[in-house]
Structure formats: C-alpha cells, structure tokens
C-alpha cells in the first residue's frame, strides 16, 4: 500500500465503530449494513483529498457516513460487490443479552425520522452541540431545541 492508502486504512480502523454504528442504525439487516459500510468507505476515499481540516476528522466521517446512508436509501441499488465485514456477531439475529439490548436500541431509535435518528446518535456519542450542528448544518442552539423535541418524542414512544 502507498503511504496515503495506509493512512486511509488507519483512519478507517480508528473510526470503524462510528461508521458501523451509523450504518447499523440506518439498516434493516446485516447485508444492508455491509453495503452501506462499503459505500461509506468508497465515499470517504473519494473525498479524503478534499478534507481541509476545517472540522474535526470525526465530524467529517460522520457527515460522509450519514449522507451515504441518507442518499443510498433512495438508490437501493447494488453497484458494488460487497466484501463482508469481519464480525462474529449479528445484532439483527443473535439472541444473547447484549444483542437483545442493542436490538432494542435499534428499534427505539428506528422509530424516529432519519434526521432525528442522526441527531440522537450523535448525542449518544457525546458529541458537543457545536459538532452536531456542524454535521447537520444548523446552529448549536437549534441542536438543543431539536434534541429537546426528540427526547419528548422518545418519551412518548417509550410510554406508548
């Protein structure tokens, strides 16, 4: 591998959990996670030269992953032969206690709209309001308002 490719591979390994989490929350099965994960990596590699360090790399990765999931949702086509992820677990099908908890999280967040889902994921990731705003293109204050509404919605979902 060339130096740039090695740096990219290192970047992917450092942020694999974040990329997986975004793809998982926007998918209905493991195959879809695989497709979105690979599509995200392709888009990251395409855009890595344009990354100007105006924002944190984690914010940039979040943007790419979210946009990929959002736009790919509409394409629903498989142009790429997906290479399977190296995973021993399948959160969609495994029945152990941890997978059940993760599945419950997926179901709850999955009831939100796509944008609300993205915001609540970043909130759970402990990203600051400024960082969330940078991903969404809204002000930190607006993030606070939206999060308040989302929490109210989650309460309703929980109580219903």
């Amino acid at each position: 591998m060339k130096i740039q490719e090695e740096q990219f591979a290192r970047l992917v390994r450092e942020h694999k959990n974040t990329i997986y989490t975004v793809c998982y929350m926007f998918s209905q099965d493991e195959e879809e996670v695989n497709d979105l994960f690979q599509e995200t990596l392709i888009n990251m590699w395409k855009g890595i030269d344009g990354f100007r360090e105006e924002s944190k790399i984690s914010t940039w990765i979040y943007r790419v992953a979210l946009n990929t999931c959002l736009l790919q949702e509409r394409k629903k086509k498989k142009e790429v032969k997906t290479v399977p992820l190296s995973m021993d677990i399948n959160f969609f099908e495994d029945n152990d206690a941890n997978s059940s908890q993760v599945r419950q999280l997926h179901e709850r967040i999955g009831k939100l709209g796509l944008v609300d889902r993205a915001i609540v994921m970043m909130w759970l990731e402990d990203m600051s309001y400024d960082e969330i705003g940078a991903v969404m293109g809204i002000s930190a204050q607006n993030v606070g308002v939206k999060l308040f509404r989302i929490k109210e919605q989650l309460k309703k979902i929980h109580n219903s």
Partner: protein, 192 residues
C-alpha cells in the same frame, strides 16, 4: 421513569460500542476494494451524457444522408440535442458532485431543492418551448418536404408521432423518478 429511558438508551449504546470494540469489522480486502472502486466509479448520469453527446456529434449527423430531412433541420436538431445534453449535465452536476457526500445535511437539502426546481422548470418551460416547434418542423420535413412523391403524409407522420410519444413518456418517467428521489430527501431532512 422517563429519565431512566435516556439512561437506558445510553447503556444500550455503551453495550453496542463495547461489543464493537471486540470486533475487527474492517479487513484488508474491504479497504482494498473500496480504494479500487474510485477509478471505476462513473455515474449513470455521466454514462448517459457521454453516450448522448457521442450520438449527437457522430451518429446523428449521418442520418442527413438518408435524405429524410433538410440540412437545416439536421443541424438544428443536432444543436437542440446538444443543448439538452449540456443542460441535463449542468442540472445533475451539483448532485453528482463528490462534495455533496461531505456537506452538512442543510446543504444537501439546499442542493436537492435547487435540483428539483431546475428539473421542474425544465419540464414546464424548456421542454415545450423546444419540442413543440421542433415536432411541427419534423412533421413537415418527414410528411411533406422530403416525403417520397405520391405518399400519404399521415402514414409517415403517425410513426414519427408514436415514437415521439413513447420517447416523451420514457423521458417523463425518468423526470418523475429524479424529482421524487430529490423530494424524498428534502422531505426527510426538512420534516424534522
């Protein structure tokens, strides 16, 4: 109880992260494949645009030698097709732009809204303004001006109109598909 809800969400998220920490997830071939894809990725729109441009500039002019229409009509048709190809490319370009994948969601919504508006304007204004005069001229050329002597003009025009109608329906179908996709994205982003 309600606060517990968020605490529970946080715990579940922590479990997800912990589980993922124990997984390799990415492997060498996955990264290699993703890197290789950049060179191969030519979008569908670009393929259509390049194909159409090739048709307009090389294949279509040859039809002049069939003597079905005048040189002026052939040149104007070629110019109209090139104009349509360039306009389609320009409308699609911001959406195809790689930066779209790295922009914030508000920017994505703005780009999609502009794309939808331009596409709608194209359908409502540019298409009739170009196609109606061109269609009338085409009928005149095929049915009267360059028709074989003694032939019934309507027998020549009906296939032309049928072909035009089928082409129009196919074009409209693709138009709706593109506009609906853009509308869905805008709706998803802005409804919140």
């Amino acid at each position: 109880m309600e606060e517990m809800n968020f605490e529970e969400l946080r715990n579940q998220y922590a479990i997800l992260k912990e589980q993922l920490n124990n997984q390799e997830i990415v492997n060498e071939s996955l990264i290699r494949k993703s890197i290789e894809m950049r060179g191969k990725d030519i979008s569908y729109t670009k393929k259509v645009v390049y194909g159409s441009a090739l048709f307009c500039l090389i294949i279509y002019p040859l039809t002049y030698f069939t003597h079905m229409w005048s040189l002026a009509f052939a040149i104007v048709t070629c110019l109209i097709m090139m104009f349509c190809v360039i306009a389609t490319y320009r409308i699609h370009k911001p959406v195809e732009n790689l930066n779209l994948m790295q922009d914030d969601l508000a920017t994505v919504a703005r780009v999609m809204a502009k794309f939808k508006k331009q596409y709608d304007n194209w359908l409502h204004y540019a298409t009739p303004a170009l196609l109606i005069p061109w269609g009338i001229w085409a009928c005149y050329e095929v049915g009267w001006s360059h028709a074989p002597e003694g032939s019934n003009p309507w027998l020549l025009i009906i296939p032309l109109l049928t072909g035009g109608a089928i082409g129009g329906l196919v074009g409209y179908k693709y138009h709706r598909k593109a506009v609906n996709a853009a509308q869905d994205i805008i709706h998803d982003i802005e409804k919140n």
